[in-house]
């Protein structure tokens, strides 16, 4: 390396964390590319001498030394890039820091390194924990790889309805994003849902696609103490579209029929229904949050047959995700959809109009309405059925109105 010593090379590190090979400018330690870093690099040298002068305690001195040692190791590795780091090395971790540190000043980098080391334990030379963090990333990747291998062999479980937990885990990050970041859903009343017993969740429906069902499901997965899964019932129009039915089935949802609902409830599952159906989803903007007539009274029959309590749920925020101005029955007939909404953005903006708006959502879960008091013949008593249907609808409407009053703005 004697030749290297004669030519002064730039001391900065490139974006790839390798040593920059350019010649340094005369009177400087960096090349013209890294001119701006010159100040930082220059500043580093004097600080080392300063530290040597002060009378620091042994321990502090050791800490500083360790930090500098680390820096040195990085530089060495930057110079000889063909040296590949051992499998679990904190190098990548520090690289990340370097990238950030290059914009800040060097003392910031030092401080960061120290912080990280301090957060382990006093044993400064313990890089085991670094290995651990690095390992976790590797492990997650490998674990995903394992999952893929297993799934390719068909070696996974689905329940009799088609529920696939691994699929749910896979889409969970997306749902969590929509739940926590995009719509910033606030959920109240989770305590009304028991840990292991059956219940029928009845909600108001709005927004053009079944996002409200998805968010209700995510709310319970994220917040309920027993991580319960809501098995929503979807309308029979959805499965005619590709991908929809297989996704819904893998998430444990089932077709909307009294038979399916009762069977699920009898297996002590939580079932979610949105009785407004198309009336709810196709609502015009000026009718928002006025619950449409609850189609058929299937859900009450379900609850009575299975003796499951009805838990009203109000979802506010979904109506404004798509602002429907009108419906075109002609277009509906042409495309085969049950209705064709004309909103501010769809169909004018085409598929872009399908992206929902990031309004703020509130999910309020109300007190359960028990079904035990009604006799076994209640399910065939039309008067009782319509009475209960109206009662549930009114309760939900009231909950929606309450929340609307409390709400200050649509997007916040």
């Amino acid at each position: 390396m004697s030749d290297e010593e004669k030519i002064v090379r730039c001391e900065a590190l490139t974006k790839a964390a390798s040593r920059c090979k350019n010649k340094a400018e005369p009177g400087s330690v960096t090349c013209w590319v890294h001119r701006s870093s010159a100040v930082k690099l220059g500043a580093q040298r004097p600080s080392v001498e300063r530290f040597a002068e002060q009378n620091l305690s042994d321990r502090e001195l050791r800490e500083r030394l360790m930090a500098e040692l680390d820096d040195l190791i990085i530089r060495v590795q930057g110079i000889s890039p063909e040296y590949s780091p051992p499998p679990f090395s904190p190098e990548k971790m520090v690289d990340l820091l370097d990238e950030q540190g290059e914009d800040g000043d060097s003392s910031f980098r030092l401080a960061l390194l120290k912080r990280l080391r301090g957060s382990i334990n006093e044993d400064i030379l313990d890089i085991e924990t670094w290995k651990g963090a690095w390992y976790m990333v590797n492990y997650t990747i490998e674990y995903q790889g394992d999952i893929v291998k297993r799934r390719l062999k068909g070696d996974y479980e689905t329940d009799a309805w088609g529920l696939d937990w691994e699929f749910i885990e896979a889409v969970r990050p997306f749902l969590d994003f929509m739940y926590k970041v995009y719509w910033r859903v606030e959920t109240t009343g989770i305590e009304h849902i028991s840990d292991y017993e059956r219940a029928l969740l009845v909600g108001n429906h709005s927004g053009q696609l079944p996002w409200d069902g998805a968010m209700l499901m995510t709310a319970l997965l994220n917040e309920h103490p027993a991580q319960r899964l809501v098995r929503n019932l979807y309308s029979k129009w959805l499965p005619t579209l590709p991908f929809m039915s297989s996704i819904l089935v893998k998430m444990g949802q089932a077709l909307d029929s009294v038979e399916n609902g009762v069977r699920l409830l009898e297996q002590e599952e939580l079932v979610g229904v949105f009785p407004e159906g198309y009336n709810g989803v196709g609502k015009l903007f000026r009718n928002r949050y006025k619950l449409a007539r609850f189609g058929r009274d299937g859900f009450v029959k379900m609850a009575l047959n299975a003796q499951a309590p009805i838990i009203p749920v109000s979802i506010v925020g979904a109506e404004e995700t798509y602002i429907t101005l009108g419906k075109s029955s002609t277009l509906a007939r042409l495309t085969g959809f049950p209705y064709f909404p004309i909103s501010l953005r769809f169909p004018w903006l085409g598929l872009l109009g399908v992206v929902p708006l990031p309004t703020k959502w509130y999910i309020d879960i109300g007190q359960p309405i028990p079904m035990d008091d009604y006799g076994s013949d209640a399910a065939v008593n039309p008067a009782l059925l319509s009475q209960l249907t109206d009662k549930v609808r009114n309760v939900i409407q009231e909950m929606v109105n309450n929340r609307l009053e409390q709400r200050r703005a649509i997007f916040f």
Binding site: E128, T129, G132, Y135, Y139, Q227
Partner: protein, 134 residues
């Protein structure tokens, strides 16, 4: 020789430990609540199942199998748990040495590292109180 002589003993000790930590130090329990953590430890030698539920307030510790599905599922030898509680073994290091097996989002598991850190100061005392040598 496994440290714990039976599942019951393990349950009793961990129960006493968590009770003590909760009473004395609210902070660790609060991190569990904030993270809404639902994590399950499946021990072998002896067989034991411990579930930590941060979604209940205050955080709930249940022993034995139940129907709740956890977010993170960890398999480990009871002795490894013992070492972690003593502070001899860091959770991250245990992962690195492949002494524990994690299913589910592993980063969520680290939220429990805080709790274990709190346990370290209390655990030896609990052991002594129950007449066990370290």
């Amino acid at each position: 020789m496994p440290f714990f002589s039976s599942s019951d003993q393990l349950y009793m000790l961990t129960q006493a430990l968590f009770d003590r930590v909760q009473n004395e130090d609210r902070q660790a329990a609060e991190t569990l609540n904030k993270a809404k953590l639902l994590i399950r430890f499946n021990c072998r030698e002896p067989e034991a199942v411990i579930m930590i539920n941060g979604r209940r307030v205050p955080a709930e510790f249940t022993f034995g199998v139940n129907m709740t599905r956890p977010e993170v599922d960890i398999r480990l030898a009871a002795d490894t748990l013992h070492q972690i509680l003593l502070g001899d073994l860091h959770l991250g290091k245990a992962l690195a040495l492949r002494e524990i097996e994690v299913r589910g989002p592993a980063h969520k598991a680290l939220a429990v590292a805080d709790l274990f850190h709190e346990c370290q100061s209390v655990y030896p005392q609990i052991l002594l109180e129950h007449g066990l040598q370290l």
